[in-house]
């Protein structure tokens, strides 16, 4: 009888009146989504964050007492479009032809980073505030009755809602005029309707997409300030706005502007109506409170699953890119037989050493952190499967991890299951739910699937994970680790747990590799390459897709279970949906296709957060900014940074082998050409300095029983090496300048040295007020002369890092080579280490505790390795100049010994 009764007509009208304005806001953002998607191919999930940006600017200016109209102009008319312009010019312009995954991940990076930037720079971490009402501004307040509301018959509309409607009507009319009557608008509409046609017709699509970015960012900004008075302004509120707008855009298949607007209105009214029904029908309290925040996600999910226009769009959906460019070959495929054998032999030793070091040398705190990273790495492997093998992007992995985590907590603690059994149950449950999710999502592809997983993740977080029966309400649920890991005479408790997690990671890592190399991985790769062709050879795409979902969800479930056990506690905030987004950004930018990509991402996440939180006393969420920007590098290396580096170093090895072969072939009976020096002989003296330091430190540890070494000892060990490096670079630059004639190199290096010295003087003399640490103090506590000397060397070094490679590459180019032996980009890494080193110096003066010395030595080791590599790269380049171009394009077939079948000819021979 509950469902039969219908609310009276007056309630319906009330829903309509109250839902309509909210729908307008959804519609505005949805229009922006469609505009940018169609004109630049970017489905910009950051519009919610951009709305937040404008609302925050508006609020903070208002709080400073600026006149309201000025606040509005600055935040909506100036900041919002300018930000859109910035995004287009600085980022998305370079991704026009990239695959949809690249664009999506970049916008996800912004989605994650932007709210944190806004909080850090504008609003402060207290992210909620009450935004000023705009009703006064447009004179709408004045039109309202005495009690500040409008009355239409017996219905009441408050002024803020009325403002929204008025503003939306104005904007829609303006858009109509723009699209109908202006040249720019016509072009924009033409692009939205058919990009390819317009390209053919020679319209300058660059300018149009720039305009579209500005326009849609303006719409997002406007939506932000309009919505702000209605909701308490925090970034989560704007995530909801975004999700609703995405659902609205999905109504129009992401391509129709009017339908997107209509979709927004329907959603706004529908959401209000459902809330109304829930009161009217007197739904249970839990449902009433649960349904409200869940509505946008539910709407998005249902839209995606049931709208026929969206279903069945499995083919490439990015309107701009034709077909996804094939992923570059995996780095390990470039390995020659020797390297592969070596790796195989060294790997177990390395693992054993790692375990010994962790269990017997590191403090419990470090063991804990490493375990933290490993639990996360297991969860990240689910992304390796879903994205790396399956080629799809899921934003819902945190939800599957949550399913695993909460299952463990509930079964082990509340129902007293054995922990391992509970863990297995968690994996199974996550896998089953993953498989079930695969069924409605079967017909979805590309971006639509991603959006569905986002909706799924948010639903799980907001409806299920917040339920008291799942996460144990406010106190949460404590979980004990399995008792067989209690620790014994050899290994402590934390160490045993570390070993267990490490074993889990190793196991899953190997399984992922097996799957990748096995039938399933090959079938996934086929489906990724062409679903039609895969079906035409008899591959059952449906079954493979369910396998993909279940496998990945199961791994995420295990990861979540381990995360829960590691923390020893779960509550409603353990697996926020936002994690799912941050994770994908992280893993994809570091390398979604390999196990070490996942591991690196997890280590980076944990160490970064810990450094920021514990050492720099910053809010740990700042880390998200860094990761957000990490995603942007993804555009350049879609295979992930780790993969990219691995391949580079393998290519360098191959080049070295070729060089050796050529020298044996050409110069066995005549003297080596001018300028040639064996690279190892050149780099050895640099490394010697570090070896000396290592010996001293270890001896000091064994004999003196202390970790710290006097500064003069460090200087004595490292000084000569550094001097040698400086000397080498001076001599080398002199020799290279003779051929290249690039005399500006000297001036650049001298200038940088002077600037560095000046900076050194400044930092050792100037006092800075440091509010966190009390009184103002010297920035770096060290004698001025040391500051000047270090600054001099560092400044010179940074310049040299770039000048020397530029010398070599300009000589190569002048000779008409197709490749450059070494490029200026090789200077970036050592520069980064100089920056990190300076930063560390700065922070060491704030007094670090002893355990940190070991990481410090480790960082010194890494920095020296980088320096040695850089010198080696430059010397290799010079050697190549001496013996002739060696082109190691990937794809040149290799013989068994790692050499191509034919050696490239010498430059001299061709002439």
């Amino acid at each position: 009888m509950l469902l039969v009764a219908v609310p009276p007509l007056s309630s319906w009208v009330q829903y309509l009146i109250e839902g309509f304005p909210v729908g307008c806001v959804f519609g505005l953002v949805a229009i922006g989504l469609v505009l940018t998607y169609k004109t630049s191919g970017v489905f910009n999930l950051a519009f919610g964050a951009q709305a937040f940006l404008s609302a925050a600017v508006m609020y903070s200016l208002d709080a400073r007492g600026w006149p309201l109209w000025l606040c509005f102009v600055v935040s909506v008319v100036i900041v919002a479009p300018l930000f859109g312009l910035l995004l287009d010019r600085a980022l998305f312009r370079y991704m026009r032809n990239a695959s949809w995954v690249v664009k999506l991940v970049t916008s996800l990076g912004l989605f994650v980073a932007l709210p944190e930037i806004v909080k850090a720079l504008i609003t402060g971490q207290r992210a909620k505030f009450n935004a000023p009402s705009l009703a006064r501004l447009f004179g709408i307040q004045a039109l309202a009755g005495d009690d500040g509301v409008f009355k239409i018959g017996s219905y009441v509309v408050n002024a803020d809602l009325a403002t929204i409607v008025v503003a939306t009507v104005v904007v829609v009319v303006a858009l109509f005029v723009l699209f109908r009557y202006t040249a720019l608008g016509l072009r924009m509409r033409a692009i939205v309707e058919s990009f390819r046609m317009v390209e053919l017709a020679g319209v300058d699509s660059e300018r149009v997409s720039m305009a579209a970015w500005m326009l849609s960012s303006f719409l997002a900004g406007l939506a932000g300030v309009l919505l702000a008075p209605l909701i308490s302004v925090d970034s989560a509120g704007f995530t909801l706005l975004l999700v609703s707008a995405v659902a609205a855009a999905a109504f129009g298949r992401l391509v129709s502007i009017p339908v997107a607007l209509a979709g927004g209105l329907i959603l706004g009214i529908g959401q209000r109506a459902i809330i109304g029904f829930s009161y009217f029908w007197n739904w249970p309290q839990s449902l009433q409170t649960g349904v409200r925040p869940a509505l946008p996600f539910l709407a998005l999910f249902l839209c995606l699953i049931f709208l026929p226009a969206v279903r069945g769009r499995r083919e490439v959906t990015d309107p701009l890119s034709g077909v996804d460019p094939p992923p570059p070959a995996m780095a390990h495929e470039y390995k020659d037989a020797d390297t592969a054998r070596m790796t195989k032999r060294i790997f177990p030793v390395f693992i054993a050493l790692f375990v010994v070091v962790v269990c017997f040398l590191l403090s419990d705190l470090w063991v804990f952190r490493l375990t933290d990273a490993l639990t996360l790495a297991v969860a990240f492997l689910s992304i390796t499967v879903f994205t790396g093998l399956g080629g799809q992007v899921s934003l819902g992995q945190a939800a599957f991890a949550g399913i695993g985590g909460y299952t463990v907590a509930n079964l082990a603690t509340e129902n007293h299951w054995p922990v391992l059994l509970a863990l297995l149950a968690g994996i199974a449950l996550a896998a089953v739910i993953g498989a079930l999710l695969a069924v409605p999502a079967l017909r979805l592809g590309g971006i639509f699937l991603t959006l569905a997983t986002l909706a799924f993740g948010l639903m799980a977080d907001n409806i299920v994970f917040s339920a008291k029966s799942v996460a144990g309400g406010a106190p949460g649920i404590d979980i004990a680790r399995p008792s067989f890991l209690d620790g014994n005479s050899l290994f402590g408790r934390d160490q045993m747990w570390f070993l267990f997690v490490f074993a889990c990671f190793g196991l899953v890592g190997y399984l992922v590799i097996f799957v990748r190399n096995g039938t399933t991985g090959r079938f996934f790769a086929s489906l990724r390459g062409s679903e039609t062709a895969a079906a035409a050879i008899g591959i059952n795409g449906t079954r493979q897709r369910i396998t993909l979902f279940a496998l990945s969800a199961g791994i995420a479930g295990l990861g979540g279970g381990l995360i829960a056990l590691q923390a020893g506690h779960v509550d409603a905030l353990t697996f926020p949906a936002l994690f799912g987004v941050a994770w994908i950004v992280l893993v994809v930018s570091l390398g979604a296709r390999t196990v070490d990509g996942a591991l690196n991402a997890a280590l980076g996440f944990v160490i970064f957060q810990w450094l920021l939180g514990d050492y720099f006393k910053m809010d740990a969420s700042i880390a998200l900014i860094g990761f957000g920007f990490g995603a942007i590098t993804y555009a350049r290396h879609p295979e992930g940074i780790v993969e990219f580096r691995t391949r580079e170093s393998l290519l360098a090895r191959r080049k070295a082998a070729l060089m050796k072969a050529r020298i044996e072939q050409m110069f066995s009976d005549r003297p080596m050409p001018d300028g040639f020096l064996p690279t190892r002989a050149v780099t050895a003296p640099v490394f010697l300095g570090f070896v000396a330091l290592l010996v001293v430190v270890i001896a000091n540890r064994i004999v003196g029983g202390s970790d710290s070494v006097a500064p003069w000892v460090i200087a004595l060990c490292l000084g000569p090496s550094l001097l040698y490096a400086v000397g080498w670079s001076l001599v080398t630059n002199a020799r290279l300048t003779r051929e290249s004639g690039f005399r500006a190199g000297w001036a650049i290096m001298a200038g940088a040295a002077v600037v560095g010295a000046g900076l050194g003087w400044f930092l050792t003399n100037v006092t800075v007020g440091h509010t966190d640490f009390g009184d103002p103090q010297i920035a770096i506590v060290a004698p001025t002369w040391i500051g000047v000397v270090i600054g001099l060397v560092a400044g010179y070094a940074v310049a040299a890092f770039f000048v020397l490679p530029v010398q070599v590459s300009s000589i190569a180019r002048a000779r008409g080579w197709r490749t450059v032996p070494v490029s200026w980009m090789d200077g970036r890494t050592p520069t980064l280490w100089i920056v990190i080193g300076t930063f560390l110096c700065y922070w060491t003066t704030k007094g670090w505790d002893a355990p940190f010395l070991w990481p410090l030595y480790f960082l010194t080791f890494v920095a020296f390795t980088v320096l040695v590599q850089w010198i080696g790269a430059v010397q290799n380049g010079i050697n190549e100049l001496a013996v002739g171009e060696i082109d190691v394009a990937p794809g040149v077939p290799l013989a068994d010994d790692g050499l191509p079948e034919e050696l490239p000819a010498l430059a001299g021979e061709k002439a």
Binding site: L511, T519, T520, T532, A533, A536, I537, I539, N540, L551
Partner: protein, 264 residues
Amino acid sequence: MGDVTPVDANVPGALLDAVGVTKRFAGITALHAVDLTVAPGEIVGLIGPNGAGKTTFFNCLLGILRPEEGTVRFDGRDVTGLPVYKRARLGFGRTFQRMELFAGMSVRDHFIVADRAHRGEGSLWRDLCNRSQPTAAENERADAMLALLGLESDAQRPAESLSLGRGRLVELGRALMTEPKLLLLDEPSSGLDVTETGAFGDRLLEVQQERGFAILLVEHDVEMVQRLVSRLYVLDFGTLIASGPTAEVFADAAVRKAYLGSVD
């Protein structure tokens, strides 16, 4: 209609028997009641100007598109409702007009994947036990196919790095690895030069004679059609306008008008 032998539906013993296949796309009728049969081991041609509906017909045969009307019988059973992969397992093989290679995968892996998919031997469980490396028998079959098509030197190269001609051979090999009873070839010579087309035809004939499967060939290259095909269907605007022995059909005036664009 040309004055050629009328098409007879429901030929007993036919390998493929399509009857009254009709496919409409929003407004246009891409195929209008098309009947077509292929006997086991026979090479049949399907020609027609661009946009006539040849590719659409292939898609209907294989189940990539669902025809509004008509039935497709294959090897004695009605396959009209079956999904693509099931039809493939029954013995359809297919190459694509716009090449559909698996980017990032080596040529050899293309063949191994096709072999596995056809035999249905791999399973997730075997993968997890790391027992999914290609077996000796699989390697042998893949090597034999590489040798047959002269692709040995490209075996390890990723498919997308191959030339168009080599790529078409890979598609052919991938289809052949599934041991099809009927091979659907969609304009295999498009994008190839004369020598490449000749070489492709040679290889195809060689394999076909060895294995004896049937072929339904869509092709613009008249020479290739005349060389390979014994019987021909002509499609124009979604309607069959002629069918019969190759020479007769080419002599048909209506065909010359529709297909060659001239009646000289």
